[in-house]
């Protein structure tokens, strides 16, 4: 008895929603709801960035009070020695580690791709470990290794050059950053490698190229896109790192994240917000330029195809 009423009701309900008018209304409302939800979430995602931007334009040292608009923090950034050191440390580490990780990551990816299936999947698995391992564990592991290496190189934790005005290089931090960005380069290059024809490399060798030239002229151009993605990821990971730098710096090398961490809840120069806003804006500008250029290229290609050239 209960069951038949339930079936009848559910059938009526289904029929009600199948009516063209009802269907139309439901469609409109669900589309409004979907868009509203999506844009609300995007807004929440951007809320911290908007707050950082407002803080960078606020004419007061107190981040909790708004006292008028200013651009002075963007200039005073260069006068704050502690922040400048943190910024240059961050950028120099990011550039160097990205460069090293990109070169070696590409090389290792080519190597891994050329292994037999079993060895390859073992290497791919090993390659995931630095990505999936917890940052604290990675940081601690590297610190332990460096502490042991201190027996051989007593100054390993000391950044050099010792009396530099601005940036110094910390070998331990640099190695740590290379360690955690390498897997991202390998991961982005590997899929591109499986797209290329293995006979191309053979052809280059048959035509008299040395193996190194063949790799540089045949394989590398074909995997350019993957290398670029990997490079971008490596840079992103390095510039934003906190935990691993924290454990491997040995206490005398600050990057921007460590600068911020040391000043949470204390008075912090709003210039750091200016730096971050500037960085975010530059990324957006670079992306827009890249997008416009690739769109233009595609348009050209389409035109070339349609005119039969």
């Amino acid at each position: 008895m209960m069951k038949s009423t339930f079936t009848r009701l559910s059938r009526q309900l289904t029929l009600f929603f199948r009516r063209p008018k009802v269907e139309k209304v439901v469609k409109v409302f669900s589309s409004i709801f979907k868009n509203a939800f999506f844009f609300l979430m995007m807004f929440l995602l951007y809320m911290p960035i908007i707050v950082i931007a407002i803080q960078s334009l606020n004419d007061s040292m107190n981040v909790n009070r708004f006292e008028g608009w200013t651009l002075r923090w963007y200039l005073e950034m260069f006068e704050d020695a502690e922040l400048m050191v943190a910024i240059s440390n961050t950028l120099v580490t990011a550039f160097l580690s990205t460069l090293i990780a990109t070169v070696f990551g590409t090389m290792f990816a080519i190597g891994i791709h050329s292994l037999n299936k079993k060895a390859r999947s073992r290497m791919v698995f090993l390659n995931q470990i630095p990505i999936l391992n917890a940052d604290v564990v990675t940081g601690l592991s590297l610190m332990l290794i460096f502490k042991v290496l201190m027996n051989v190189f007593p100054d390993i934790f000391v950044p050099f050059p010792a009396n530099a005005l601005f940036f110094r290089i910390s070998v331990t931090v640099l190695l740590a950053h290379v360690y955690f960005s390498l897997p991202y380069v390998v991961l982005s290059v590997l899929p591109k490698l499986s797209e290329i024809d293995p006979n191309l490399y053979d052809a280059a060798l048959d035509l008299g190229s040395k193996p190194f030239d063949a790799v540089m002229r045949v394989i590398v151009p074909a995997i350019k896109a993957g290398i670029f993605t990997g490079m971008l990821m490596a840079f992103t990971m390095s510039i934003d790192d906190f935990v691993i730098t924290f454990f491997t710096s040995g206490g005398n090398f600050d990057n921007v994240s460590m600068f911020v961490y040391g000043k949470v809840g204390k008075l912090m120069t709003p210039s750091v917000y200016a730096y971050n806003t500037f960085l975010t804006l530059s990324v957006v500008v670079i992306l827009v330029i890249a997008y416009v250029q690739s769109a233009r290229k595609q348009k050209k290609l389409l035109l070339a195809h349609s005119t039969g050239k």
Binding site: P48, I52, I110, G111, L205, S257
Partner: protein, 278 residues
Amino acid sequence: MNIKKLGRLSTPYLVWLSMLVLVPLLMMIVLSFFRTRGVSFVNAAFTLENWSTRLIDRSVQVALMNSFQFAGTTAVIVFLVGYPMAYILARSSFANKFVILVLTIIPMWSNSLLRNNALRNLFLSQNIVNDLLSPLGISFAWNLTGTKLAVIIGLVLTYLPFMVLPVYTVLEKMDKSLLEASMDLGANKIRTFFKVTFPLSFKGVLTGFIMVFLPSFSGFAVPYILGKGTFVVVGSIIETSYNYNINFVSTLSIVLVAIIFLLIFTVSKVDKEGESFL
């Protein structure tokens, strides 16, 4: 084929990874059974206290509970919010999905500590946005800083893109004719979603879950910044005591590694081809 000879290029990587992954892990295991001064084994004494009394200490238990609570809640909320976002994005008729996808990634280029610090400032009763909005008659004083809710909001906003991206990737790759087949066979939209779309996108969900759960479980910066340091988590014990008690810190790290390994092992059972990671 000559290309096979290039395989030896990967040998240094094998050495590098084993040196930096396996050696420290072995060191931690050894260290966890001793009482030492730093990494030096002079006057080292064998002990089981790190694994017995220390690990069941009240403060450690609380930290583990807090970490699980933060990471679990975050992962669930991120899934509930991120999945629909990825779904809307993948099925949308927006003129350019790529642009919108990039928009979800851009926040990752902004320093994550600074973003959470901005949230901390925003969640104080006296904040800059309230100052800006109060002339318009809008009050924006939430006073959340120092609460668990604030920590979870911070974690959710930090790791949301980590769920949206992998789910979007699987949804985008999915064979659309399967959906048409399901509809042709009489399933309605809701049934099609639960019987076809969701099971096929499950790999992406698992990847996203791991990418969100692990860092929010082990991280200590977000709970410190948004919790005003009131909530002890596993990461913060490691952070505060690695300098004077490397032995217990090693024990905790092994516990973390075990949890991570268990999670990944479970996922690899579900996802045999291992293609869902990134």
